[in-house]
Amino acid sequence: MNTIVNAFPYLMEGLQVTIYIFFIAIILGFIIGLVVALLRLAPLKILNWIAKIYVDAIRGTPFIVQLFFIYFGLNSLAWISLDNTTAGIVTVAINAGAYFAEIIRAGIQSIDKGQTEAARSLGLNAQQTMRHIVLPQAFRRMLPTFTNQAIISLKDTSLLSVIGIADLTQEGRIQAAATFDAFNVYLIVGLIYFVVIYLLSMLASYVERKFVLR
């Protein structure tokens, strides 16, 4: 019991790092996803291809390989120097971005064509229609899938411990080694992840109820 009490403050520090990385990465990932989804649906073929190649490349390779490529691979180039936190954030963002792009694309395509026609018939241009009519409806519809991906990305951050980022998992490893009580330390680490993810999905269903039911 004592070991846990001693380990707990370190685990909380790790949790802060996890949440910090998750938060920035998910926002970046969302922006990437939105841009890529719009490229995917743009009227120019070449843009569609670029977007599709990106999405396929990310979906077709393991997260850990993407992480190693960005941290070790890119850093081996003379003109690039990324610290591990930046590399971690970038990897999670790029990874989530590809999945978000597919979610957003599907969301956009699920909106009835009549919505676009009505907006265009009023004189709104394509951008105004996307911004005021299509995206707000698409986002409401994609919220559940979106939450799912955010949870997956949060769990993916635990893999960042392998490049030495002092996140919750990494702190857990250190404490497990220091206290010789791996059973209890990892049990607590697991519980902390569980609670955070549970809170996240509660928040999501609250937002969903607030916006979707209408």
Partner: protein, 242 residues
């Protein structure tokens, strides 16, 4: 100058030629009703008038401006051409008031108060002032369609296009929507109405176009077209619907 001039309009979807060759003219304050069997191309014809369908051949002029010419800004032209759809296409995430004010807010330089006042007046015109704060999901079909008409009118269009506006309504709702359209016609709005409501066409139409097989088969004042159709196809169609 004619409000709408259609010259040798053609429209294909892939290999299927839906509009083969149509020409007509709509003058200011005219009410034109378009009738014909389903699949005849009448909705496509209407949708070519504001270029919701890309036009494959020929020309459409709105107030003398060729909308098929890519140099002309279609968004500006569309501000003068309101459209009402069979499925209403109200924006479900916005209140009735927001549905009506969105386009004027974004496209017209006027203050919010004045635009909302006008939207409120338009709601009065279609008899739905008490629904200003409601969402489309809370309205009946007939109410939705009347809001859709108010939404189109908010841009002060010179022309209104109606694409089977009462076809998706329960029968008891049809009258309310037709009444709004009749009032609009009496006020001098230039209207093109694709409809199955032969009663409306006969009563309100200055001219009726009968479309079949990608052509305007016959075009006449309602009394003549309904009472004394010239073409076999018109006769066959009317014998089924009247």
């Amino acid at each position: 100058m004619s409000m709408i001039r259609v010259e040798n309009l053609k429209k294909s979807f892939g290999n299927i030629e839906v509009i083969k060759d149509m020409s007509t003219v709509v003058e200011e304050k005219e009410v034109i009703c378009v009738i014909g069997p389903s699949g005849s191309g009448k909705s496509t014809f209407l949708r070519c008038l504001n270029r919701l369908e890309e036009i494959s051949g020929g020309h459409v002029y709105i107030e003398g401006v060729d909308i098929t010419d890519p140099k002309n800004n279609i968004n500006t032209i569309r501000q003068n051409v309101g459209m009402v759809f069979q499925q209403f296409n109200l924006f479900p995430h916005m209140s009735v008031m927001e549905n009506i004010t969105l386009a004027p807010m974004k496209l017209k330089k006027g203050d919010k108060k004045a635009i909302e006042k006008k939207a409120y007046d338009l709601l009065g015109k279609v008899g739905l002032q008490e629904k200003a704060k409601a969402y489309p999901g809370e309205l009946s079909g007939g109410q939705k369609q009347r809001v859709a008409i108010a939404r189109a009118l908010a841009m002060d269009p010179k022309i209104m296009l109606f694409d089977e506006p009462t076809s998706a309504l329960d029968p008891e709702m049809v009258g309310d929507v037709l009444d709004v359209m009749k009032q609009l016609a009496r006020e001098g709005m230039t209207m093109v109405v694709v409809t199955h409501e032969m009663g409306f066409a006969a009563e309100m139409g200055d001219r009726v176009l009968f479309i079949d097989g990608g052509y305007i088969v016959e075009e006449n004042v309602p009394k003549e077209l309904f009472g004394n159709p010239q073409h076999e196809r018109t006769k066959a169609f009317l014998s089924k619907v009247l």
